[in-house]
């Protein structure tokens, strides 16, 4: 009996501690975000660094987005064409695929790819700077590292992720068209007409809003983890891993939350 009580107590304590840790962490990230906001309205405004980061986040990711976008559109068309054939509605393939891509796949897959490529790089860069005292050195030189290092990264990501998501959408459409019309032989006119008839501008803005939020979140987490890294090379490695894992999970969770909010305002 006592053993059971002790075990239960242990489990409760563990759960309590984990919950506490989680909320402490959320509190710290919120605090970090507040510092970023206050640093971003205070001069100097680092346009050059912002452009550098925009190039790294945006231009640097174009190639992988082209590839993932194209194949996502292509494979979804292949799958849904088979499903629609069962009910004889092949002409709906293009519009269905595009709806899914515009609302979900473009923002989510783009953000996941960018988290892997850019969120991890941010955590590694800032983490290395932290453990080699470069961030301390910057502070001593009376330059706010949040203003110099973090703000440009977060803003670049907030702008470039939606752009990448749009590129993803465009190439996914191309992939879908090629597979649907050229490979599967769906009538071109019907394919296009259905898209126009079925899709709504809301479907595109819906995806873009999400991409903006994801862009902020993935860079925020990457910078936060790097900025607070400790404990040498191992610490930097851990920061990088956590940036990717927590970043990706946050994207999925937020995707659900945002979708339920955005759908309230959706035209039907």
């Amino acid at each position: 009996m006592n053993a059971v009580v002790a075990k239960l107590k242990g489990a409760l304590e563990f759960a309590g501690q984990a919950t506490l840790d989680f909320f402490t962490e959320v509190g710290l990230v919120t605090q970090f975000m507040a510092r970023i906001l206050s640093a971003s309205v205070r001069p100097p405004y680092r346009v050059k660094l912002l452009l550098q980061q925009a190039e790294f986040v945006g231009v640097g990711s174009v190639f992988i987005i082209l590839l993932t976008g194209f194949f996502t559109g292509a494979v979804f068309t292949l799958q849904s064409a088979q499903a629609f054939q069962r009910v004889g509605m092949e002409s709906m393939v293009g519009s269905t695929v595009l709806l899914a891509v515009a609302r979900e796949l473009a923002p989510v897959l783009t953000s996941l790819m960018v988290t892997g490529r850019v969120g991890s790089a941010m955590a590694t860069e800032l983490g290395t700077m932290r453990v080699t005292e470069q961030i301390d050195a910057m502070e001593v030189l009376a330059v706010d590292p949040i203003n110099y290092l973090v703000v440009p990264r977060v803003f670049a990501s907030a702008v470039m992720v939606p752009c990448l998501s749009l590129i993803f959408l465009v190439v996914a459409t191309v992939g879908s068209f090629i597979v649907g019309v050229s490979v599967l032989g769906i009538d071109e006119g019907a394919f296009m007409a259905r898209i126009e008839w079925f899709l709504d501008p809301f479907d595109f803005t819906h995806g873009l809003y999400k991409a903006i939020v994801f862009g902020v979140v993935l860079s925020l987490i990457g910078c936060y983890k790097g900025y607070n890294a400790a404990g040498g090379a191992r610490g930097v490695g851990m920061a990088t891993t956590q940036a990717v894992v927590i970043g990706s999970i946050s994207i999925f969770v937020l995707d659900y939350v945002l979708t339920s909010i955005l759908l309230i305002g959706a035209p039907d």
């Binding site: 510092r35 470069q134 301390d136 050195a137 030189l141 009376a142 330059v143």
Partner: protein, 244 residues
């Protein structure tokens, strides 16, 4: 200029500073001696607000810097330069950009003037022409000297040196000591120098403090150190004077 009162700092279960009191006089050079791991670097980081004390106060020109917000802290730091033990150069920038960094951030100098000042400072530390190199291409001693140039380029009123000469050869050490002396004589710079090297310490110091087991066990003018009665200080000195 800097006044430290009853400073306590612990990391986890280990108390590094246990009530440090220290005064750094304006325009003078204060050397802090102590064995490795005695908390010299930790103490210095408190002077510039990189670490926050658990208890106690750090006053710079009468202002308690532990109570300042981010913006106030940036203001205070404009008065300081610091040479890090491991140089802490920005490794994504060239040597020239490292030294130019404070100038570009805090002055409105033209690019030519910046380049001229950078060249001048690099010349002083014996690294003329190294502007285009990256920190990863330099030796440890060279990096340290770039750190020195970066800390001094804005001509701060107070410079903190964390072991500026450790790992340097005797000739370069002599040059760095000379730089510290000159800065204090010509520019009236207040300096705090951390050192293991008693010879070099005696050479540059006006005042010396010895830190041991978390407290300052000796605080005296440089020439009075040899008369210290504290057993640890005597032992510390014996290792050096014994060799002469």
């Amino acid at each position: 200029m800097i006044h430290i009162e009853g400073l306590y700092k612990r990391f986890g279960g280990y108390e590094v500073l246990k009530g440090v009191n220290l005064h750094v006089r304006r325009g003078k050079t204060r050397v802090i001696l102590g064995i490795s791991g005695s908390g010299k670097t930790v103490l210095m980081k408190h002077m510039i607000g990189l670490l926050k004390p658990d208890r106690g106060a750090v006053k710079v020109d009468g202002e308690d810097i532990c109570k300042l917000d981010d913006k106030g802290m940036l203001q205070v730091r404009r008065k300081f330069g610091m040479v890090f033990q491991q140089a802490a150069l920005f490794d994504s920038m060239t040597v020239g950009d490292n030294v130019a960094f404070p100038l570009r951030e805090h002055t409105k100098l033209s690019p030519e003037e910046v380049a001229r000042k950078v060249a001048e400072k690099l010349d002083v530390v014996g690294l003329n022409g190294a502007e285009a190199k990256f920190p990863s291409e330099l030796s440890g001693g060279m990096r340290k000297r770039v750190g020195l140039a970066r800390a001094l380029v804005l001509e701060p009123t107070c410079v903190l040196y964390d072991e500026p000469t450790t790992g340097l050869d005797p000739i370069t050490t002599e040059n760095v000591d000379q730089m510290i002396l000159e800065a204090s004589a010509k520019l009236k710079v207040t300096s705090v120098v951390i050192s293991h090297d008693i010879g070099s310490a005696m050479h540059v110091a006006d005042d010396i403090a010895v830190i041991h087991q978390g407290v300052i066990v000796e605080d005296c003018p440089a020439d009075a150190l040899r008369q210290s009665r504290h057993p640890f200080v005597q032992k510390f000195l014996a290792t050096w004077f014994g060799k002469q």
